[in-house]
């Protein structure tokens, strides 16, 4: 009984340790990685363009729903004028970073895990090692650095589009004065809200891209090599990244709220 409980726990601890070492090795490879700026730009372009449409679509619908629900609830208390504050604080502090990260995991993270898994499968990673090229430095480092830039940018875009969605449903559809809406937005958001937003976005970016890269990189360790191993690694990458985003969101919120 104890062994049955202990074995998965030890496996989990071992996996976390390996992933931490993998992430540290990827960052440690920064000074040794040649032509890093070029690969970084390429990674930013890939992550950014791949996710842009979904960020825009989910952002506008999230804002629209927030506007509708917020107006309905606030109207009960005669406080519709606070709709801008409700939409903006919900988006900046919570929904923006979390939903943008989940969308980025679904789009860029899954593609990354599959791509690196296939590269492991077709011996491209082994080829890099025989050339004396750091495979983490070449494949993972640019993606991790790109995530630190792309996730906050995409989150900012998500929040802006969401705010516009809230305006559309609150003002354009339900008749709230646009000035009242935008003025509440302006008054509600403080520097500490933006800090929380970008701390979350950066952390989610780093952790999820590290997780997706790690799962792809070690796709062969679970079920051996092959298409099945790559598909299992991709699924694991997406599920674990989503769980990590939600768990970390709770941890970061707890720390930042009680500063």
């Amino acid at each position: 009984m104890l062994a049955a409980l202990g074995r998965p726990f030890l496996r989990l601890l071992g996996g976390m340790g390996r992933m931490a070492c993998f992430t540290v090795r990827s960052f440690a490879a920064v000074p040794k990685t040649r032509r890093l700026p070029r690969r970084l730009l390429r990674a930013i372009f890939e992550q950014g363009t791949r996710c842009l449409p979904v960020i825009l679509i989910v952002g506008i619908f999230t804002g629209l729903v927030l506007g509708l629900q917020g107006h309905y609830v606030l109207n009960r208390f005669g406080s519709e004028s606070l709709l801008g504050a409700l939409v903006s604080l919900s988006l900046v502090r919570e929904l923006g970073p979390v939903l943008a990260a989940l969308m980025l995991v679904g789009q860029a993270g899954s593609a990354l895990a599959a791509e690196i898994g296939i590269q492991r499968n077709s011996e491209q990673i082994a080829a890099l090692e025989t050339m004396g090229v750091s495979s983490e430095g070449y494949l993972v480092t640019p993606r991790l650095l790109a995530a630190l830039i792309v996730f906050p940018m995409q989150t900012a875009l998500f929040v802006l589009i969401g705010l516009y969605g809230g305006y559309l449903s609150g003002s354009a559809m339900l008749g709230l004065e646009p000035g009242v809406y935008w003025s509440a937005v302006e008054k509600a958001i403080e520097a500490r809200d933006l800090t929380e937003c970008f701390v979350k976005a950066g952390t989610f970016g780093l952790i999820t891209i590290a997780m997706c890269s790690y799962q792809g990189f070690y796709a062969h360790l679970g079920q051996g090599i092959g298409a099945r191993a790559v598909s299992a690694a991709t699924t694991r990458a997406v599920v674990l990244s989503c769980v990590l985003v939600l768990a970390l969101d709770d941890v970061i919120t707890s720390f930042l709220l009680h500063r």
Partner: protein, 261 residues
Amino acid sequence: MTDSSEPLLRIESLHKRFEDNVVLAGASLNVPRGSLVTVLGRSGTGKSVLLKCLAGIVTPDAGLIRFDGKDLDASTRADFRRRCSFLFQSNALFDSLTALENVALPLEQTTSLSDAEIRERTLEALKQLELDAHHDRYPSQLSGGMQKRLALARAIVTKPELVLFDEPTAGLDPLRRNAVFTMILKYQRQFRFTAVVVTHDLDEALIASDRVALLDGGKMLFEGPPSAFTTSTDPVVISFRDSAAALRESVAELRQTTAAT
């Protein structure tokens, strides 16, 4: 100072096991400078593992590898990697990179050459392997033979002293097999690198190689020139050498039995 009479590569008593499966059980091999050595053996006898131990992809459990007079360990591995290339059975080309980018990759990542110098050396390598007209194509847009040549271009662009070939002719028809072996021999002579080729194609090995080795049961059962291989009286060498004749006999027996019934 390096002794020129010493083999470029010497493997002594290499051991490797994967859990209960003993793959190498004291394999030894000498690879003289400038030679083409072929390691023969049945499928699953550990030929590729031997090569991967050399390339550093697999860590041997015990044994010694000496390259250019120095033991291969963590301190000499980086120098070995600079001077050695590995050609994978699957070619291991980057499918998201063009032919030019694939060949330029080792130069970009391991040297401090300028972009112009890298491009010049890459185009030169592609030209020597008659691929310069296809430099902007992706590997998936090239034929199997062209992919093999592209992988060879990537392997030789760094001007290595030793190239390891892992089953370069596996899965190819006899004509393509001949073409690949001819290509290896041609460029080995042209660029004067030492080559270790792992294969189970006996005929090509005996024609093209300077030395032949036979790996069986985790050990090197034979090592010497092709002429000695053809006259060896070792029962395993005989069974490997005469496998085609044995097949002919088996088929003839089977036909006789079928006719009788």
